[in-house]
């Protein structure tokens, strides 16, 4: 049997990859992709715990389901926003969009 620790490590790896991508990608859509990775990492964690430790009313899976739904909603809104920004700034690269700079 695969110990639970392997799943958590997998989840952590995916999470950190997502973090790296969020900090490093110049394209905004690239950042969104990284965030999807993070969300999936969380999901794996939840489902693994559900399987290995047992949760009342299969809470883990229900939670993971909800996370998927939320992620979908977030991606939708995010992408629409990106398209809107693209229309205004004509560029999608984060260095070019810096209204907050000193």
């Amino acid at each position: 049997m695969i110990p639970l620790g392997y799943f958590t490590f997998l989840s952590a790896f995916l999470f950190c990859t997502g973090v790296y991508g969020a900090l490093t990608r110049r394209n905004v859509i690239g950042i969104l992709i990284s965030i999807e990775l993070i969300l999936n990492a969380v999901n794996i964690n939840l489902v693994a715990f559900n399987k290995y430790l047992g949760t009342p009313d299969s809470l883990g899976q229900v939670f993971a389901l909800f996370v998927i739904a939320i992620a979908a909603a977030a991606s939708v809104v995010g992408l629409v926003l990106i398209i809107s920004i693209y229309r205004n700034a004509k560029t999608l690269f984060t260095d070019g969009i810096h209204l907050m700079k000193e």
């Binding site: 969020a22 984060t94 209204l99």
Partner: protein, 598 residues
Amino acid sequence: MHIAHLIPLFPFLAFLINIFAGRRLKKASAWVAIAASTLSFLFSLKVFQDFKAGAGSYDLGTWLVLAGKPLSFGIIVDPLTIMMLFIVSFIGTFILIYSMGYMHDDPRFSRYFAYMSLFMSSMLGLVLADNFVLLLIFWEGVGLCSYLLIAFWHERPSAQAAGLKAFVTTRIGDTGFLIGMLLLFFTCGTFHFSDLRSLTGPEPVLTIAAILIFMGAVGKSAQFPLHVWLPDAMEGPTSVSALIHAATMVAAGVYLVARCFPLFVAHPIALQTVGVIGGISALLAASMAVVNNDIKRVLAYSTISQLGLMMLGLGVGGLSAGTFHLMTHAFFKALLFLCAGSVIHSVGIQDIQKMGGLFSKMKITGTAFCIGTLALAGVYPFAGFWSKDEILLAAYSQHHPFLLVVAFLTSLLTAFYMGRLILLVLFGSPRSEMHAHESPLSMTVPLMVLSAFAFGAGFWGAPIKTAAVEGQGAHLIMGISTLVSLSGLGAAYLIYIRRLNLLPISVLSSLEGLKQLLVRKYYFDEIYDYLFVQPCLRLARAAFDVDFNIVDGLVNFVGFATQWCSGFVRRSQTGFIQNYLLIQVFGLVVLIVWLLKI
């Protein structure tokens, strides 16, 4: 009824009224001042009456507790004080009347009267004070008023400089006065004048204290070496010079010495110092007056010289002689200054080399001027003769031959330069274009009143004194002094009217260097500038540099450092979200490590 302490209050009230409501009162402010001064005079008469009936000094209350002893302050009433009260209030009133005419067109009319009232108030308080501390308060008051009035026309830089010079020079004297006073207190434990007779203390300390107190008198009475401010003080209006720098304030120094006379008598060295300084000042100033061409400055030097004579009189032990001369001098010097003011008011210039032949156009002023001159020169029977004679007699009878000779020389020079003055101003032919006219009544009436006193004031003290010293060479002295005065006047007449040269040309030309020395006032101003003023200025500049560069530099540096730091830190605000995110994740890592591993 104790009313003496009200005497200084009336002029003080006039001061307040004129300062606050002067703009509205305009010409009426003069009347306020004159009314207050007249009231003071009337009250002084009453005080005199009370004194003859037996009333004396009294206390007004306790003020502080110093070193365990309560300091009470009160009023002293004795002949000296009463004489001073009379002089100040009487002459002051007439000078105020005169000022109405003299200052008529001045834009700061009411301010002038306010300052004059304040001065009179301080002077009256000064002579009424019964202890050193109270006297010092009024002493400073008269000093302040002197400064304000010298620099009255403060648009003129020369007036500003003169005012400052007067203030600083008298300040030097005042410092000595303060130290002497405190020395006296710390060794003998008292500030009161009534205790001066019975002082006990270490001899050298008390002598030093006395000399230091005398230093205050030296400053105020413009004696050597602090005489430099009085000629410059002529920048102020002439009526100011008459009141302050002829009759009253400069007499405050003499008054101080007279008041502390028991102290000085007990320490012969101090008394000798008084006499010597007086003698030096008398001769020094008289010599400088001989070559001066400004009508007011001649009179200023004359004042210094006469004050020196008074100090000389006090210094040889002649208390009554010195104070008698103080009284007569007040009258005829005030008269002379007012005459000079009248002349200046009518012809507009002050250089006597440009005047001449004014007598025919200004009869009243001219007569008054002559009377004043004769009084100052000490011609019998004018007032000055009696008082000067007293001083000479005192010097003779107390066996001070050197000071006696000095006094005679001074009288000779006095007669000479005063003769020179009136001969150049009033007689002879006019040396330049002048439009002279007689002054208005407000100016001539005081002249007439003061002339009467300049003539007759001597008789008050004369019969008493001559009777006392009959047969002790009094007649000899009187004779020599008359001879001296007449020869001085005669020499002036010969030189300036007849244009004779009394000395051969060769001698005259070799005296050119001496004349230069006198004209340049013995280079006193230059010496003082080099010794004191310049180092002081350099010190001030150094202090300014320290403050400007170091202190301000430090403050500016703090500001600069803050700016630099903020500029440095500002670079973390990149506006780039992923930078912020990076720091957040790093913070998360740190947080986890810290919270879970420790």
